[in-house]
């Protein structure tokens, strides 16, 4: 199949229709970053261990490094770029900013998307529920305390 054109995949990305070429083995994280220029989603370990590439697919937190773009056909993808409506930070993003929940910033988009999925299911989570929801996301600056505080603040409990 060397010179065959790649099939076009159709999905919604942050509320807009999107049509992109992607081979069967192309990963969503590659399509987002390399084809669509949405580099907010980070490619960390590329093996499902760090959570930096967390996106929402139909509202469910998933890893873009372990999702083939072809599987996204007809689905709704949300990335960190979709949260700041009209260029204004969401409540959760502002809480990360104000509570210094961001250090080097590399884990931040994944942390925020994992927290976003939690807050949609459970708008007033306990600290235990927050830690559980973020248990698939690694921060190598070890800033977990401030990250948890940021999510608590966004939930109105900070």
């Amino acid at each position: 199949m060397p010179n065959e054109p790649e099939p076009i995949r159709h999905f919604r990305l942050n509320g807009r229709n999107c049509a992109v070429p992607a081979a069967d083995h192309t990963l969503l994280v590659e399509t987002l970053r390399e084809t669509l220029g949405h580099v907010g989603t980070k490619q960390g370990c590329d093996g499902g261990e760090c959570g930096a590439c967390t996106v929402l697919i139909d509202g469910v937190a998933r890893l873009a490094c372990l999702t083939r773009t072809g599987e996204c056909e007809g689905h709704e993808i949300e990335t960190i770029e979709g949260l700041a409506a009209g260029g204004r930070m969401s409540r959760l993003q502002r809480a990360f900013h104000e509570r210094l929940g961001t250090q080097c910033g590399y884990c931040t988009p994944g942390m925020i998307m994992a927290a976003e999925s939690l807050l949609r299911r459970d708008p007033h989570p306990t600290e235990t529920a927050i830690r559980e929801a973020l248990s698939g996301n690694l921060c190598r600056c070890t800033g977990y305390v401030k990250i948890v505080e940021a999510v608590l603040e966004a939930a109105g409990a900070g």
Binding site: M1, L27, G48, E49, A61, L66, E71, A114, S135
Partner: protein, 335 residues
Amino acid sequence: MNRFAYASPATVTEAAAATGLVAEAMVTFDESAVLKAGGIDLLDLLKLELLTPSVVVNLRAIKGLDAITQDAAGNVAIGAMATLSQVAEHPLVRGSYPALATAIAGAAGPQLRNVATLGGNLLQRPHCWYLRSPAHHCLRKGGGHCFAIHGENQYHAIFDNHACAIVHPSTAATALVALNAEVELHDAEGATRRLPLEDFFVGPDDDIQRENALRPREVLTAIHLRKPASGTRMAHLRQGEKAGFDWPLADVAVVLAIGPDGVCREASVVLGAAAPVPHRARAAEQALQGRHPGEAAAGDAARAALRGATPLSLNAYKLALFETLVRRAILAALA
């Protein structure tokens, strides 16, 4: 990753027929067609190019394979394509098999549990770093020796480790073996067979290049659990290096059937991350049967569970870890 064709058959029989040797990330690393369930372990193996199939057969388009149902007698069937999140949160599982819900809720991270399936979890390849390393041609890949036995073996087996020292990668399997679960397998002619999960797993002494008894052109479709007898108590405990998402260093499932007189009629004690297959600690089970279980019996069973262990150069710490976990799991089941 190599290029592959992608097929999404609508029925299990078609899926079985589409592949020479099936199951997600199955058995040998050079098959031409593999099944994809959640695709977590499969994508890892594809990225490492330990698996270079020409066809990936997706099971997601087959309707009904993710159902969790209960029959009139109270037995539960879990479709192989049910995600770990679905299984861990399902009221039938939480109500009747809390040790399974706990084991699964502690597996991987939330994003993975939203995609990974119970069938794929049981069929994932071991996580031995020598097996996963393209630079090491180990026994399981047709090479000459096990690198772990004299190498970096801190996460490896303490039982049945003389040939190949992998540990079984599934924590769900620890609980399912303790619950005497059965697996349902479906072949390309439409026939099905069922066998105990315990007999489904294959240790290195029986075949060093496979981890289960799935045949060519067979698909794992369901996991069956019998209704627990009244008086059944159970627990699953794990210990990792950190509280968050990590592989366990040790995990233990205990299922006890306690009679109205308080005597233990039947006991299942299964150790995970201990051996190439989930390890049933028969001596521990015998130490509990026929007794009023409590602190004394739990201590005796815990010591008995480690009898016959053959730790390697860097994993003797697991003996104390397992002894404590077995004792605590028995007491947690009784609590």
